[in-house]
């Protein structure tokens, strides 16, 4: 039987439980005797802790214990970097609980354990904290003054400078016939998950075993950190991945609570559960994106790009967290996007401030850099009198140039290349789908009180982070098969897509794959999780390897059973047969299992184009999307239904970042956006006219599936395209958006400035 599950819009297995309210998220667990943890967080952005008095809190009936740094012999452990673990970052890493200084509003100071979360919250009010205020560092400009230092021993608020280099930019700029320099900036966003974070830990004192529920994204890595911090062998800790209500890069990294809750469970020898509330989530989960670029582009008169040069500043918040450097690295590594830029000299400066620390958020650094390059390209086109689309056509990396090397980055020695694809093809398809040739004649026109604007932008999306992923297959008692994955589920549908891949490779119907288990540390020997759009490429390729080993194991077992050569064994849907009509049920091999892995250090680059048609009310600064098209080529489509979900879902997150979202602080580091009424997210009425077209015309040459990571392309170009569309609509006012989000106020100010200039 030849299957074609790969490529088919298979409805998801996960949906059967989610739609009935039968998902099991960590807050749905309630073991007997559980204590609820509630965390006291700093209300001061920068200060020195004088005292924490818990006596009054402990007197409240139902309060069991209050844990502070003093309860941790040897001081609170430090959370190490997971990605780019450079020695330079060491002084800036975060302790699991504040012990000498507080460095952001929301930093954990104490953990209350109580018989209910409500009593725990009552107890927070009764804890007396004395903090001597220090001068807060409320912005990256303040950080650069180095007057008030977050980390005195480090001597500077700058944790690192990344250098992205290609060719000889200084020489190229010296001889360039055209140069434009701009200052542009992006807002502070975060990968808000609808399920707030949660951890539940159970300590089995007799066996010395710790079970931690609520793991997500990278459970195996987090187990390694926790084992070291808490002083247990790794195999004495089991991390359980329950249903996870969204990831987006933010959920599942190792946060302070990932130590505090297991520590608390062992400390009191009771199960302990902590569920974050939304206010905490806004100030405790990784922030992202707040960058400012001071960059210049050099071009020939015909628009051929010669080089990019300049600096990007990232507001890192108070600590270097596990993956906190990724965005700041990416913003300079990928500034050129899908365009041919022979000379690059970009520095990325990482500034520590008294804000919530940053980590990755879907399309880290790519959303920001795409905004920068796309804005620059539209300005170049206007300056040089070149059509915006032609400018992009001229500069897109051609398929004949693949694999195409991009700027290398120091000090991490990141050298990467785009793997394959025809970027021009995606651009032309996108223009056709939106009807660019005809409709863009409306650009800048005022119709029924609204100005029409158009923009187009191209992107690449990195995926498939290595080094490895694991998969294991096993025969069940009834002859069906279970798949165990090192990949993690964060809502993207891995149970369905891995069943598709396995059923195709095993040449059996999909319902013979009874379960796909994932994430938890008891499923496979080693797992690497869900980030950098890696699950289908890495996990899917591991499934392919496991199916080979699985078939070999069945052949070997069948040969033994039937007394024949392994090569004579045929494996059917539910039976194993040998020569001479002898056969037996696959169920007789119940328990047979085989593991496989995929090892890979190369990255995939899916790519595509966004195009937008918008209208703007110049008096209200209000923007409406008339039509928005994304075309993305992903090498090989496994499930078009879930893939479209990734593209449109990430696009709307990108539009949120372009138009609405911004985490704000005042100059004292006080957090101003602590509710969902302050941090604005897209809702169903905001962006109704979005379309996507996914293709798999150009398979990736670097993995057996030919697939490319595809969870982030929808977000990448949204900021640049929306800003360019606004500039295009409001060209009669000379409006040039230089920052995101494009709030009504900001657009209105651009219009007012344009009118003032016209009047002068």
């Amino acid at each position: 039987m030849k299957n074609t599950f790969i490529g088919a819009p298979i409805e998801r297995r996960e949906d059967l439980r989610f739609l009935r309210g039968r998902g099991e998220y960590v807050d749905d667990l309630a073991p007997n005797g559980v204590l609820y943890a509630v965390i006291l967080r700093s209300s001061v952005a920068h200060g020195r802790i004088k005292s924490i008095d818990t006596a009054a809190a402990l007197k409240i009936p139902g309060v069991h214990t209050v844990i502070t740094a003093k309860d941790m012999p040897g001081g609170p452990p430090i959370i190490p970097m997971r990605l780019q673990p450079l020695p330079e970052f060491k002084p800036f890493e975060q302790p699991v609980i504040a012990h000498d200084k507080v460095r952001y509003v929301g930093e954990p100071l104490a953990v209350v354990l109580a018989t209910s979360a409500a009593i725990g919250e009552d107890a927070l009010e009764a804890i007396a904290v004395e903090i001597d205020d220090l001068d807060p560092v409320g912005s990256r400009e303040a950080a650069a003054k180095n007057k008030s230092l977050l980390f005195e021993p480090a001597g500077s608020n700058r944790s690192l400078v990344f250098h992205a280099r290609k060719g000889d930019a200084d020489a190229a700029f010296a001889n360039a016939p055209y140069v434009r320099r701009e200052r542009l900036k992006t807002g502070r966003h975060y990968g808000l998950t609808m399920e707030p974070r949660g951890v539940m830990a159970e300590w089995d004192a007799a066996k010395g075993r710790l079970t931690v529920s609520g793991a997500a994204k990278v459970p195996f890595f987090n187990r390694r950190i926790l084992a070291k911090q808490i002083g247990l062998p790794e195999d004495s800790i089991e991390m359980i991945e329950n249903d996870v209500g969204g990831g987006y890069g933010a959920r599942g990294e190792f946060y302070p609570e990932d130590f505090l809750i297991p520590f608390a469970a062992r400390h009191v020898n009771r199960p302990v559960k902590w569920i974050e509330d939304r206010r905490e989530n806004l100030m405790a989960m990784n922030h992202a994106r707040e960058t400012e670029a001071d960059i210049e582009i050099a071009c020939e008169r015909d628009g051929t790009i010669i080089g990019l040069r300049g600096e990007v500043h990232t507001d890192m918040g108070a600590y270097m967290r596990t993956n906190g450097a990724v965005g700041a690295r990416n913003v300079v590594q990928f500034m050129a996007g899908p365009y041919r830029v022979p000379h690059v000299k970009l520095d990325s400066l990482l500034w520590m401030t008294n804000k919530t620390p940053v980590g990755t958020y879907r399309g880290p650094g790519r959303f920001e850099s795409s905004f920068y390059i796309e804005r620059l390209l539209d300005m170049v086109a206007e300056d040089l009198g070149i059509d915006r689309v032609d400018l992009r056509r001229r500069n897109l990396v051609a398929s004949a140039e693949q694999p195409y090397p991009i700027a290398s980055v120091q000090p991490t020695n990141a050298n990467d290349q785009y793997d394959s694809g025809d970027y021009r093809e995606a651009l032309e398809r996108c223009l056709t789908e939106i009807g660019w040739a005809e409709k863009s004649k409306l650009q800048g026109k005022l119709i029924d009180g609204r100005y029409h604007g158009f923009a187009v932008g191209c992107f690449v999306e990195g995926g498939a982070a290595g080094p490895k992923e694991s998969a294991r297959l096993a025969v069940n008692d009834d002859g069906t098969i279970t798949v165990f994955m090192g990949s993690s589920a964060v809502g993207q549908g891995v149970e369905t897509v891995f069943a598709q891949i396995a059923a195709d490779a095993l040449e059996i119907p999909m319902d013979r794959i009874r379960h796909v288990y994932h994430g938890s540390t008891n499923t496979v020997s080693d797992g690497y999780g869900a980030y950098h759009s890696r699950s289908i490429v890495m996990g899917g390729s591991a499934v392919l390897d496991a199916t080979k080993n699985f078939h070999a194991a069945i052949r070997e077992a069948g040969a033994k059973k039937l007394g024949c050569d392994a090569s004579d064994i045929k494996i059917g849907e539910d039976r194993v047969s040998g020569p001479g009509g002898k056969s037996f049920a696959l169920a007789e091999l119940a328990g047979l299992t085989a593991e496989g892995a995929f090892l890979n250090h190369k990255h995939t680059y899916s790519y595509g184009t966004h195009a937008a048609h918008i209208t703007v009310d110049a008096q209200l600064g209000e923007v409406r999307i008339v039509d928005y098209v994304v075309v993305q080529d992903v090498g090989r489509i496994v499930n078009p239904l879930t893939l479209r979900g990734q593209v449109i879902g990430s696009l709307v997150q990108g539009l949120g970042g372009a138009m609405l979202e911004h985490l704000q602080y005042d100059d004292h580091g006080q957090f101003l956006t602590g509710t969902l009424a302050d941090y604005l997210l897209p809702t169903a009425g905001d962006f109704p006219n979005l379309r996507c077209f996914v293709t798999d015309n150009h398979p990736s040459p670097i993995n057996p599936l030919g697939a490319k990571g595809a969870g982030e392309g929808g977000i990448v170009a949204a900021g640049g395209v929306m800003a360019n569309a606004v500039a295009n609509a409001l060209q009669s006012f000379g409006a040039q958006p230089r920052q995101l989000p494009l709030t009504p106020t900001y657009i209105w100010e651009l219009v007012q400035a344009g009118q003032r200039q016209a009047a002068e």
Binding site: R278, G491, T642, R644, G645, T683, A684
Partner: protein, 159 residues
């Protein structure tokens, strides 16, 4: 204090603190964990349940206020045998990913389609704009709800 109401067709009596929300009562006391808490301040809509037929945020209502009411949660809009037409439509259109906001969308959409099985796309978007989904981008959710209208016209959403 004691409170009595009906949940998913069954009468329940619970002893609660006056400050306990209906959401916490459903989740903790009655172990109906399909109702999810996304913000606890009435913005995200994940905790939406039906109270006497109206879509209500159970994080903004106290359990004691439910005295005598008929409460229906996502579990009450489901059965073991098969997905309902609304649920099938969500699955067909891939109107959910992580599933966390989904119960709130199901209850909200059920209330809307029960009252207005002829609603148009604008009305669907308007009503659903009180619920936040971070995964799907909403397009597929709106399509799913529109596609489920016929089932409500014919059978009120039953199979």
């Amino acid at each position: 204090m004691p409170v009595q109401f009906e949940v998913n067709g069954k009468s329940v009596s619970v002893e609660v603190e006056p400050r306990l929300t209906l959401a916490d009562c459903l989740r903790q006391n009655l172990r109906l964990t399909g109702t999810h808490l996304g913000c606890e301040h009435g913005v995200c809509g994940a905790c939406t349940v039906l109270v006497n037929g109206d879509a209500v945020r159970s994080c903004l209502m106290l359990a004691v206020q439910a005295e005598g009411a008929k409460v229906v949660t996502v579990e009450g809009l489901s059965n073991d045998a098969d997905l309902t037409p609304l649920q099938k439509s969500f699955r067909k259109h891939h109107a959910l990913q992580c599933g966390f906001c989904t119960p709130g969308f199901i209850t909200t959409a059920h209330a809307l389609l029960t009252e207005e099985p002829d609603c148009d796309a604008d009305r669907v978007r308007d009503v659903l704009s009180g619920n936040i989904c971070r995964c799907t981008g909403y397009i597929s959710i709106v399509e799913a709800v529109l596609d489920a209208r016929s089932a409500y016209k014919k059978t009120g959403g039953g199979p």
